[in-house]
């Protein structure tokens, strides 16, 4: 009798271990930490070298679902008025209607529509809206697999992306002979868990 009882307990214990075990994790929501993030770009100047620039004001949200990456989501909003190429006259021209037209299109926004897990990160597809034009873009987002607690009590995660866009695809066609059509963008973000 005792042998049978202990055998049943052992069997139940083995079943519990062999079963799903730990419960499924929910997706984690992160708010972009702008102090530890950057949206940078470079563009060809006369075909000789590059002009580098950045946007100083932006915000975003990340949702990372480790169990089902397809349910992850990424969103970023950039203030076009914050464009900075370290040259006030050039920045003024970039803000004008001949380029970003910041009084008409004050933001550039990205919202993901599909996320797929790949080695070392995610392949993200989403809608990029810039200068009144909305286009689907796909790029690789690296990282998102490591969570660090810093400062104490604050979970943070990091991701980087790089992509190339043609500004003419977004109806920005001024000075195409002198200033490149392709814009090389590098984004690095840290997200803080809410």
């Amino acid at each position: 009798m005792r042998k049978g009882f202990f055998g049943a307990v052992l069997a139940l214990g083995l079943l519990a271990l062999l079963g799903n075990g730990a419960p499924a994790r929910a997706a984690d929501d992160y708010t972009l930490d702008a102090a530890h993030a950057g949206v940078n770009f470079r563009i060809s100047h006369l075909g000789l070298s590059w002009v580098y620039g950045r946007f100083n004001k932006f915000s975003g949200n990340l949702t990372i679902d480790p169990d089902d990456p397809a349910k992850s989501a990424f969103a970023l909003t950039i203030n076009t008025d914050s464009v900075d190429t370290n040259n006030p006259q050039r920045d003024g021209h970039l803000r004008s209607p001949d380029f970003f037209n910041v009084k008409q299109f004050p933001t550039i926004s990205f919202k993901s529509t599909a996320v797929k897990a790949i080695k070392d990160g995610y392949e993200v597809t989403g809608d990029l809206t810039m200068h009144g034009v909305k286009k689907a873009v796909t790029f690789t987002l690296k990282g998102g697999d490591k969570v660090v607690e810093f400062p104490k009590g604050t979970q943070r995660i990091g991701l980087t992306a790089s992509l190339v866009l043609k500004r003419s695809d977004f109806d920005m066609k001024q000075l195409l002979e002198a200033v490149g059509d392709e814009v090389h963008i590098v984004i690095g973000v840290e997200g803080v868990k809410q």
């Binding site: 006259q89 003024g92 209607p97 009084k103 008409q104 004050p106 009144g132 000075l175 002979e177 002198a178």
Partner: protein, 314 residues
């Protein structure tokens, strides 16, 4: 600098087209039918405008997401429609024009940071009360100048205000371009061309009272250039105000001392007087443009000018 050859072609295309259409509809020139003459003005100006815009590769666009698209696609066609309607029903013409003047700035500023929360909740630059005040003030300024020029027309001749408007549109175009909004300023050149072409062509036909229709198109066009230059480009407030008010200098030859001159002498004096403030505004804008273009950047003493960029590779 902009492509002067292309600009010349655009102005010529708009002037010639406006003139030809007006002359065709004004036939017989010795005694033109008033309704057909009014329509000739409207259709001539419309055809001239869009002929010039076609040369500049500036087309109406739907949906009109930017200010200059709203000007080409909505406001100018609306203006032409209103002026065409007054050709047939001249009675309520000023009621329609007041409506047009009230709608002009809201159309141009539609869905911009001034009137819409484009960058998130409460991000619009003008509160609803501020927007109402500013838009009303703009409409009032437009109407005051428009009515005063119409009164000058009624007092002197149908074509009295035409040269003043042509010069003002030309000056506004150049000033807006020099204020950092090249593509917006370009829109004023076919406007000046069409007004000039139609006005010159109308010399072939006598002008009965209340038959010319250039004033409405010219005023809405001038006002639109100044609004898009000020609120989307970097046109200073003072320059915008001077450019809008300068055509009123055309009233000076009606002062007692000068009124003794003949009609044609007064017309010449009128043009000369209007040109003075306009030339000063353009020269000031050019000076500011050159100073800004020549300013060395923090990084390099060899900074090229905007002209250098525009001419690169050509």
């Amino acid at each position: 600098m902009p492509d002067f050859l292309l600009i010349g072609k655009a102005v010529a295309a708009s002037a010639v087209t406006a003139a030809v259409v007006l002359l065709l509809l004004a036939w017989p020139w010795r005694a033109p039918h008033p309704v057909r003459l009014r329509l000739g003005w409207v259709l001539g100006l419309g055809a001239g405008l869009y002929a010039g815009y076609a040369v500049l590769d500036q087309w109406p666009r739907w949906p009109p997401v930017e200010d200059r698209h709203r000007l080409l696609t909505v406001l100018l066609p609306l203006t032409l429609a209103v002026e065409a309607a007054t050709a047939f029903v001249p009675g309520p013409r000023w009621l329609l024009r007041v409506g047009l003047a009230s709608a002009a700035a809201p159309i141009l500023l539609h869905n911009s940071v001034y009137l819409a929360d484009l960058a998130g909740p409460d991000s619009r630059e003008w509160s609803p009360a501020q927007a109402a005040l500013i838009l009303s003030a703009l409409a009032a300024a437009l109407l005051v100048v428009w009515v005063l020029l119409a009164l000058l027309q009624a007092r002197t001749s149908e074509r009295a205000a035409a040269p003043a408007l042509v010069l003002a549109c030309l000056a506004a175009s150049l000033t807006v371009m020099l204020s950092g909004y090249l593509t917006g300023g370009l829109l004023g050149l076919p406007l000046a061309g069409a007004l000039a072409g139609a006005a010159l062509a109308s010399l072939a036909a006598p002008a009965p009272p209340h038959t010319s229709r250039y004033l409405g198109v010219g005023m809405i066009g001038l006002f639109s250039l100044l609004v898009i230059g000020r609120f989307f480009g970097s046109l200073p407030d003072q320059a915008a105000a001077w450019l809008l008010l300068a055509p009123l200098v055309a009233w000076l030859p009606e002062l007692p001392g000068v009124r003794k001159l003949s009609l044609s002498q007064r017309a010449v004096v009128r043009v000369a007087l209007v040109a003075v403030p306009l030339v000063l505004v353009v020269l000031h804008a050019e000076k500011k443009f050159k100073e800004a273009s020549a300013a060395p950047s923090t990084a390099s003493p060899y900074e090229p000018t905007l002209d250098d960029y525009k001419s690169f590779g050509k």
